[in-house]
């Protein structure tokens, strides 16, 4: 995958891209862009992949201009229109799942198929999801992973050794996430799910302690014709913990 910095609208956006085939947009989760991740490389074996960093994350700008979730949906519409490939497949993970669903609701003509992986964006009073911003490190590891040892396999867009700069990187990322996930990650997506016309697959790791199963069910029920897949022995990042199983269900769905 090649890392590039380019303009999307007036924002400087960092992207990792590569491969050839049908266009595939990958939107990363709330913690960080995974950088040149193995699963992105493998997706690039069959697709032309673009994995942009969200505004305000890492080196990418624009968060100060984003006020409503509509601004995010229009940002990704701009990116896909600039790409010029027509309708694209979209995989959105975690917060990226919320963004992907909003984009698909606002721009149904630009989304061929939609994959939501442990998506945020809904709130269920009967099943409050944990607050991901206040979990102490141990509890976070327990909620995020099926096996906390899997953390070693997680890749990051930040590859420097500087601990101070790493803290700044994380603070910027999570700070930007708060714009759409704080105090509750619901910006009205539930009302807009019926506008999604793309065939949709909802994926959830069975051990995901951040997004409970009821949320995957609510997404599946809210999007017409959507179906769901559970991945065993995986938490919030099934693409890291069970890469092969993850890629298998994704490729079968996109085929």
């Amino acid at each position: 995958m090649t890392m590039t910095m380019s303009k999307v609208g007036s924002y400087d956006i960092r992207s990792w891209s590569g491969g050839s085939g049908a266009p595939l947009l990958y939107l990363h989760g709330f913690e960080q862009h995974p950088g040149d991740a193995p699963y992105l490389q493998k997706l690039a074996g069959k697709h032309s992949v673009i994995a942009p960093e969200h505004p305000g994350y890492g080196e990418s700008t624009g968060i100060e201009d984003l006020q409503h979730i509509l601004d995010v949906a229009l940002h990704y519409r701009q990116l896909v229109e600039d790409w010029g490939q027509g309708p694209v497949d979209v995989i959105g993970h975690s917060l990226g799942g919320m963004f992907a669903a909003e984009f698909a609701a606002v721009s149904p003509h630009l989304v061929r198929k939609l994959v939501l992986v442990s998506p945020y964006g809904l709130w269920l009073d009967a099943e409050p999801a944990p607050d991901p911003f206040v979990l102490p490190p141990d509890a976070m590891a327990g909620a995020k992973w099926h096996d906390p040892a899997s953390a070693a396999a997680e890749t990051s867009a930040f590859t420097d050794d500087d601990k101070g700069e790493q803290a700044v990187f994380r603070m910027k990322n999570l700070g930007s996430a708060t714009k759409f996930m704080w105090p509750i990650p619901d910006r009205g997506l539930g009302r807009r799910l019926p506008y999604i016309k793309a065939p949709t697959l909802v994926i959830r790791g069975e051990a995901d302690g951040l997004v409970p199963d009821a949320y995957a069910q609510a997404f599946t029920a809210g999007i017409e014709g959507a179906r769901s897949e559970r991945i065993a022995a995986a938490g919030h990042l099934p693409m890291v913990e069970q890469e092969a199983a993850f890629l298998k269900v994704v490729e079968e769905f996109l085929a």
Partner: protein
């Protein structure tokens, strides 16, 4: 220098094993431990104590805003300020402050502060605060990344609403109002503005550019504050800002008694209560986005200076109530002892940190009312008059003219200051 009477309005009757039980005292307190009648008694006590401080010659009566915590049970400082504005005569009403991001629309702050200024005949100091993370982003749910922007938008709206002589439309990002035409208007054209901070360079730029009074409000004393306060003054000097010490406020716990031994006997338990019972989930103290990347980088540089005088271990022991009374004093958390000792140590502190406005915490924890009243009296009679000379060569544009004039008439020592000599 000037002295403002202050107390965190701390609930005094928490069970002895509160900490051992793992109870939290902020954001998620256990309401079963708080008796509303006891809260009422506590509020009436603080009103009496502050009325006493007004008579004792204090320059200001300070009230603050916190939410969902038994450490400081003052959800609206304006309510306590209203009780004081109508029942005191001399001191400034130092509202330090309203958490601007939490008021929607923020003209509510402009209205209430104007009301207080009318009621007190022009004695209000308008403190604007970002609010702690516990208050602004946890209890009140603002995304941390928005707090600063909301604060500044509200600040601009409030200041403009005091000034404009015609109705105006305000099209902000967070507040949209078609007709702004405030009533009542404040007695002071624009009450003095104070903005406390915890070392963010963005706040330094603001108070320097706008010539506001800056405040370093902590309860950890001289050594803990010194790196940040020194860095602020250095930054101010380099930026060509006003170096007037009256532009700097600082909180300090004061435990004054006739003798040092008496101070220990009367205050030690309350000091421990104050530090021990402030239990906060550490995950609530630094949410992502509350501090900017710019400030994170700047703090990394200046906070390494002077760390040796107060270690992280010291701070932990202080919070656990494990220090002896005189260790709390020696490490700067409190200033305790006889009036002679207190005035000497306050002079050192104020000189060292270049502080013209001391926010003196004369009540802490579960201290008995009569001890706090005695603390107040000793300060008024035997400490404050001896420190009026400090920084008296500098003008003070950050306390109201009315309170300055009235306090000068009752508090010895001020009349000799050059600003009043003419």
């Amino acid at each position: 220098m000037k002295f403002h009477w202050f107390a965190e309005v701390t609930y005094p009757k928490l069970p002895k094993d509160f900490v051992e039980r793992g109870e939290l005292n902020w954001v998620k307190p256990n309401p079963a431990l708080f008796d509303p009648r006891q809260s009422g008694e506590m509020y009436r006590m603080f009103i009496r104590l502050m009325q006493g401080a007004d008579r004792a010659g204090f320059d200001g009566l300070a009230v603050n805003e916190h939410h969902q915590g038994g450490f400081a049970m003052t959800p609206s400082p304006n309510l306590l300020a209203a009780s004081l504005a109508s029942s005191t005569e001399n001191a400034a009403i130092l509202v330090i402050g309203n958490s601007l991001a939490l008021y929607n629309p923020p003209i509510r702050v402009a209205e209430e502060m104007a009301y207080l200024d009318c009621l007190s005949d022009g004695r209000v100091i308008a403190g604007f605060v970002f609010g702690t993370p516990m208050d602004s982003v946890f209890a009140y749910g603002n995304p941390p990344i928005e707090v600063r922007e909301r604060f500044h938008e509200a600040r601009n709206l409030i200041l403009r609403s005091w000034q404009e002589q015609k109705p105006f439309a305000f099209n902000g990002k967070y507040t949209k109002l078609r007709y702004v035409d405030l009533l009542p208007r404040p007695v002071q054209k624009r009450p003095p503005v104070w903005v406390p901070g915890t070392g963010s360079v963005e706040t330094w730029d603001l108070v320097i550019d706008e010539s506001y009074c800056y405040g370093h409000l902590s309860f950890s004393g001289l050594y803990s504050a010194k790196p940040a306060v020194d860095a602020y003054w250095e930054y101010c000097d380099k930026s060509g800002g006003d170096m007037n010490p009256n532009r700097m406020a600082f909180t300090q716990i004061i435990c004054c008694a006739e003798t040092d031994a008496e101070a220990e006997a009367r205050y030690y338990d309350a000091v421990k209560y104050f530090y021990r019972m402030n239990t906060v989930d550490p995950q609530f103290t630094s949410p992502p986005g509350y501090t900017t990347a710019k400030s994170m980088r700047a703090q990394k540089t200046y906070l390494t200076i002077g760390e040796s005088k107060l270690t992280a271990e010291d701070k932990m022991r202080a919070a656990r109530g494990e220090m002896s009374f005189w260790e709390y004093d020696e490490k700067g958390f409190i200033i305790a002892g006889s009036p002679e000792r207190v005035r000497q140590r306050v002079r050192e502190l104020a000189t060292d940190l270049r502080i013209g406005q001391l926010i003196a915490c004369c009540h802490v924890g579960d201290l008995a009312e009569e001890v706090a009243a005695e603390n107040t009296r000793l300060m008024g009679e035997q400490v404050i008059p001896h420190l009026r000379d400090l920084w008296s060569e500098y003008p003070d544009h950050w306390t109201p003219e009315t309170s300055q004039r009235r306090v000068a008439a009752i508090s010895p020592g001020i009349a000799t200051a050059p600003e009043f000599a003419k």
